[in-house]
Each structure stands twice: as C-alpha cells, then as structure tokens.
C-alpha cells in the first residue's frame, strides 16, 4: 500500500503548500512494496520469484533493449527539437517513459494487436513503425499513415480513454475467432493509457467489458504521475493497479523505469491473455520527465526537486551500468549505439523538412466507403475554385 498522501484535495480551490508538495513527493516517487523491479536504478539485477522466468534474456537481447531505449529517446528528442524549430505544430514527449514502452512493446508478438494513446512512440518503434511515420500527425499532414492492419498498431487516439473500449471489442473478436487458449499460437491485445485516463468512463467500461467477455486484453497504464498539471491524487485514492481487483482480474504495479521488469510483467500478462486468463491490468509506475506536450509549461505546477529525484531512476542509465559492470560490455558498443542514434536524428530531420504539403483533394478522400453525393459535389466545386487560382497565377 502507498502511504497516505500529505494533501487530500477535498476543496477544488485549495492548493497544496510547498511542504505538502514535498511530503507528497515521497508518495509519488516510491512505488511501494508491491512494485515489481528486476533492475535497480543502480543497475543491480534483483531476483523476483514470480517474474524471473519471464525475464530470461540473453546478453544480445539485453543489448538490443538498450539500443531500442536509446534510439527511441533520440527520436523523441528530435521530435521535440523539430517542434521548437517550427517544423512540427506540437510534439508529445515520452522522455522518461522509454522503459515502460520498450519493455511492454518488445513483449508483443506480430499477431498481437496494440491500441496506443498518443505518446506511444516507443511502442510504435517496437511494432516496426518508423518514427518518421509519426511525424505527419504532429506536422499536420495526416492523422497517421503507417500500415495499421499489417503492423497491428491502431491509429493514435487523442480522446482520452476511447481506445480502451475499442481494444476491448477487438480482443472480444480474438476470442470469438478462437484465437485464445494456446500459449504458442494464442493472440492478445494491449491497450495503453495514462493515469488521468483512469478517471474516464470509457476506461471503467473497458474494464467491465473485457472482464465480462474474458477478453485477452492487457490494460497497460503508464502512471507518469501527472495528467497535464493535475497530480495523481486528484484522480484516485488507491494505487491504480489495485483497482483491477474490483473488476475481477489481476493488477500488477511494475517499475516503469525498469525495462526488464516491464518486459517480464508484460510477457506474463500477455501469456495470461493468450491462454485465456485475461484481462490483466499493469500499472507502470513511472514519471514524465518533460512537459506534457511542447505547448505545456511544467514549471507552473511541479517542483524541480521532483524531477531531480526521478532523474536518479533514469531508465537508460541503469541498463548501461548493468551492461558495463555486470557483463563487461565495452565502450565501443555504447559509442556505436550513440552514432546510430545521431544518424536516426539526422534522418528524421531531413525527412520532416522534405515532407510534402498534401493537396486539397486529400480533405475529401475516404470520408465514406460509398461515395457521398454531398462530399463529391463539394470536392468538385472546391477543386474547381482552387484550380481557378492556379490558372490565374499561371
């Protein structure tokens, strides 16, 4: 159990005092005794009776997890910079949440389905979506352009919580098609949402539906402690993973900054789903190191001390230390990954700047499967109007 927090917001107008915030921090940064952790912030591997068998990774796999973390962070930082340079309208940073995303994303099989929210660039990476394919959303050229069905990575969902029900429906379909039951061939679905999302009706309804139909669905909540400026204790009185119990399925709190623990716990949860024991709720206890989006000013609502505290739990640093100290991995490996990250950054930047402006016909395309006379008439009229300018200029 979490310690009771110092400040309980009973009156919406009340604000915590400085000391209350600091007291609250202790609750925020400690995951509690139930937290599953396999790799400490110091890079020590600690045993875990329940999840060790799901964390059986070779040195090569560990190194590739590290590579993913670094490349995902680099892609994220590039997105942030591109926004600052005016190339993107907005960026939603994942800084600090790399381990939660890469760990869970790497646990998925190609046949599994994934319903992201809007910050899941690291999961996208694990699904084989090139980070360049995410840029259109934030540059405003499209709403997502990757191969949704082939990659089994649903479009980003902006309306908080909607995707939990869409995922529940999809997972029901997997069960209806008898794709559940066998640990080797069974399918599962995973759906991502934040701590703030847990206050939405759709997330509650998603829990109810998934439970009612034994849907093979892993609810993966990235508790990054803040919903824009609103702290966790405005959303819940109990630790989020404990809510699962009320719906009749297991909930686990994992160290969201520990890629190995996230991988292991998600593998376990997916296996539960594949074999027919779903759904499962995972609460990845983590922290959003950057602002909510590039439009947000996080200094208005949180203290620098809090961020400093979480820096000590960096998801990448602990893997690096573990690889170097425990496995004697040479500096050349880390330099190689670094070089690769720089190349990725450059490629994304060049790609972004070269992205073409979509033509106005795009506005009218694929609104309906059967053409709508109204839309067709508007398309013809507008394109003719548009063409009249081009002719005038030429």
């Amino acid at each position: 159990m979490d310690k009771p927090q110092a400040w309980v917001p009973t009156d919406p107008r009340s604000r915590p005092s400085q000391s209350q915030v600091v007291a609250g921090l202790k609750g925020v940064d400690a995951g509690g005794p139930e937290l599953v952790q396999l790799l400490t912030p110091e890079g020590e591997r600690v045993p875990d009776e329940r999840f060790d068998r799901y964390a059986d990774v070779s040195l090569d796999e560990l190194k590739s997890l590290y590579r993913d973390l670094v490349l995902v962070r680099r892609a994220d930082r590039e997105g942030n910079s591109l926004q600052r340079q005016g190339e993107l309208g907005i960026w939603v940073p994942l800084l600090g949440q790399e381990a939660a995303q890469v760990g869970s994303g790497r646990a998925l099989r190609p046949t599994d389905m994934c319903f992201p929210s809007y910050r899941e660039h690291g999961v996208a990476w694990c699904r084989g979506v090139d980070p360049a394919e995410l840029l259109g959303i934030f540059r405003g050229t499209d709403h997502g352009s990757w191969d949704f069905t082939g990659k089994r990575f649903h479009p980003y969902t902006i309306v908080i919580g909607n995707q939990c029900l869409n995922a529940a429906g999809y997972a029901m379909g997997q069960r209806f098609e008898s794709k559940v039951g066998d640990p080797d061939t069974g399918e599962a679905t995973i759906c991502y949402f934040g701590d703030g999302a847990t206050s939405q009706g759709d997330v509650h309804e998603g829990f109810v539906w998934a439970a009612a139909y034994d849907a093979p669905l892993v609810f993966f909540c990235q508790n990054n402690q803040w919903a824009i400026s609103v702290p966790l204790n405005r959303q819940t009185r109990v630790p989020l993973y404990q809510r699962a119990r009320g719906y009749g399925f297991p909930g686990v709190r994992v160290d969201g900054n520990d890629v190995l623990a996230c991988l292991a716990v998600t593998r376990w949860a997916l296996e539960e789903c594949r074999t027919g024991n779903g759904p499962v709720l995972i609460e990845a206890f983590t922290y959003r190191m950057d602002a909510h989006t590039t439009s947000d000013d996080a200094t208005r609502y949180r203290l620098a001390g809090e961020v400093e505290l979480w820096k000590l739990k960096d998801p990448i640093e602990r893997v690096r230390v573990h690889l170097a100290r425990r496995h004697g991995v040479e500096p050349e490996f880390f330099d190689g990954v670094e070089a690769e990250a720089n190349e990725l950054g450059e490629r994304l930047r060049a790609f972004c700047r070269a992205m073409a402006q979509p033509g106005p016909e795009r506005m009218f395309s694929e609104v309906y499967a059967d053409p709508s006379p109204q839309v067709e008439a508007e398309r013809a009229e507008y394109l003719a109007y548009h063409a009249s300018f081009v002719d005038g200029e030429g």
Binding site: H143, G169, Y170, F176, A369
Partner: protein, 324 residues
C-alpha cells in the same frame, strides 16, 4: 405478405445474419429478451450468444466495442434501447466511429450499424421519445437513415448492414406495430440513400421521414377531400440527403411543406428548406414552410399530442402555403 415493421426488422436482421457469419447483434437485453421492443426476438436462440450479445449496461461500451470488433473484421449491429440513451455513446460515435476510416485514409473501415428507436407518441416517460437525428446528420463520416414502413425496414436494415460505412439507423418506434406488405426481393429494393415519392400529387409537395410519413399520408387523404392533391416524399436517407425527388416535385407544385417531429432549429427540416429554396427559387410560389416539434425538451407525455405535429397542423401549413 403483410407484416409489422417490428417483424420486418427482425426478418431483415435474420437474413443479414444468415448471409454473413461476421454480422453480430449487440446491445442491452437483445438476447434472451429479444430487445425491449422484441426486434431481435429469437435471434440469440438461433445464432447463439456469440453472435447475439447481451452486453453490459454501457452505451459507450456498445459503440466502442463495436468499433474494435469492426476493426477485427466483424459487422456489428448495435441496438440502443431508446433514443435518449444514445448520448453516453455519442463520444464514441462522433470521435471514433465516424472518423476512423477518414483518419486512416480508408485503411480501417468500420461497418457498424447503430439502431435507434426514435420519436414520441407512445406515452413514455422522459428520455424515451426524442428525435436526435439531426445531431448525427451533422457529423461527417456517418450515414443516417430512417425507415417508415415494413418493406423499407426489411430492406434498409439489410442494406445498412451491407454498407462499409457506419450507419445510424432510426426506427419509428410508434410505427413498430403497423402492418404493410413486404416484398422479399432485396435486389428490387430502392437504393438505401434515395428518397421516394410515396403518394403522387400536383398541388403541393410534402417532404418528411420516419414516423411522420404516415401522418402526412393521412393528411394527404384528408386534403384530397378538399380537392388538394399532395405529393408526399419520404426522405428515407437523412445523410446524405437525396433532394432531387423533392426538387423535381417542387418544380411542378411550386409549394413545399417539410414535416418532422424533431425541434426545428438547426435540423434536417432546416437543411431541406434551405437547399430547396436555393435549388428551386424560381419555381416556388410560397416560402418553404416547416411543421415540426417545438424547440423545447420533449414534454411530459400528457402533452405529446400538443407537441407532435398531427394531421391538422400539416393541413394548416398546406393551407397557409396555398394561400400565399
């Protein structure tokens, strides 16, 4: 064979489910009970619990899960128990159902049908008699239709299920028990998104849909006694609208009355009036008049006879138009 509108819907659903194993029926009480209006009666017995789902009491869930099922390749037909209860699911309808295809540039179609019994006249309590169709017609990405008689109900529900777009399917609940002839040949049916002249006439055009079609036909019978031949057009499709039959008729009659029991402001009737005056300005001999419910919440049922347009209010508008 003469059958009720309710039975025609049931037959249509059954035919669609037999045709395609991916068609699912889902909603509150649709299984064992057969729905509160018994539209899905017997379907669960014949198709099983996995194709006819008694869902949790959760409208956002019904729509949201249907979207996910459609992404998986199913064709869900959702029942919303009463018009006034669709709003918890409105978010999923507007935010996901209507937009997923567009968002993915056609890669992820969502062939979902949302059936909504709508309109008043059954003496029900609050939230059981609403006409929210204009709210849906305003949302791009949705198709909106309303049936008015057993034959249309039978064909239109099947056509809606065959459509690869999301269709909001309005059923006039107070006409569920009225009988009509149903010719069971789907290929001979008019296209889903077409209006239809249901009574020919030369004096004045009446455009309407759903439960008001019968009211307008009754008004036309009464007007005929006074020597006025009303042409009645059943719009059938509310989005997209098929206004050519209305325009064609107005070019002959020069008069148009648009009838619906929904409130008038920013509604289907407003849309029809605006577009017909734009199309037929020089043919009109009077302004387009509307007969609608009032711009108030639906009243307590003892007042619904005042609220709902009836034969007399339609005839009054006819007289005003002709007297212009």
């Amino acid at each position: 064979m003469a059958t009720t509108l309710a039975k025609a819907l049931n037959d249509g659903l059954r035919a669609a489910m037999e045709r395609d194993p991916k068609v699912l029926v889902m909603g509150e009480d649709v299984g064992r009970l057969g729905g509160v209006f018994r539209i899905t009666d017997g379907l669960q017995k014949d198709f099983g619990e996995q194709r006819v789902l008694d869902t949790p009491l959760s409208e956002s869930g019904i729509i949201g899960a249907a979207v996910g099922l459609a992404v998986r390749g199913f064709r869900p037909v959702c029942e919303i128990q009463f018009d006034g209860f669709v709003f918890p699911g409105f978010d999923q309808i507007v935010s996901q159902l209507a937009k997923l295809r567009y968002r993915t540039q056609g890669a992820v179609p969502v062939p979902v049908v949302v059936r909504i019994p709508f309109g008043g006249g059954i003496g029900a309590v609050e939230h059981h008699s609403e006409s929210p169709e204009s709210l849906f017609a305003h949302v791009a990405g949705l198709k909106v239709v309303a049936c008015s008689n057993p034959a249309d109900a039978y064909w239109m529900i099947q056509q809606a299920i065959l459509t690869d777009d999301p269709v909001i399917f309005f059923e006039p609940k107070r006409r569920y028990w009225e009988k009509g002839e149903v010719e069971a040949d789907l290929d001979a049916a008019p296209p889903l998104h077409s209006a239809r002249v249901v009574r020919a006439g030369s004096t004045l055009t009446v455009a309407t849909y759903g439960p008001m079609v019968k009211t307008c036909l009754d008004a036309a019978t009464a007007a005929a006694e006074d020597g006025h031949e009303l042409e009645v057009v059943d719009l059938r499709s509310l989005s997209p609208l098929d206004l050519e039959p209305v325009a064609e008729s107005v070019r002959r009659t020069g008069h148009l009355v648009v009838v619906s029991e929904a409130p008038s402001e920013a509604s289907i009737t407003a849309e029809v009036a605006a577009r017909i005056q734009q199309e037929c300005f020089f043919s009109l001999e009077a302004p387009v008049l509307r007969v609608t419910g009032f711009d108030t919440p639906y009243p307590p049922s003892r007042l619904e006879d005042d609220y709902l347009p009836d034969l007399d209010r339609v005839l009054d508008a006819v007289d005003r138009s002709l007297a212009w």
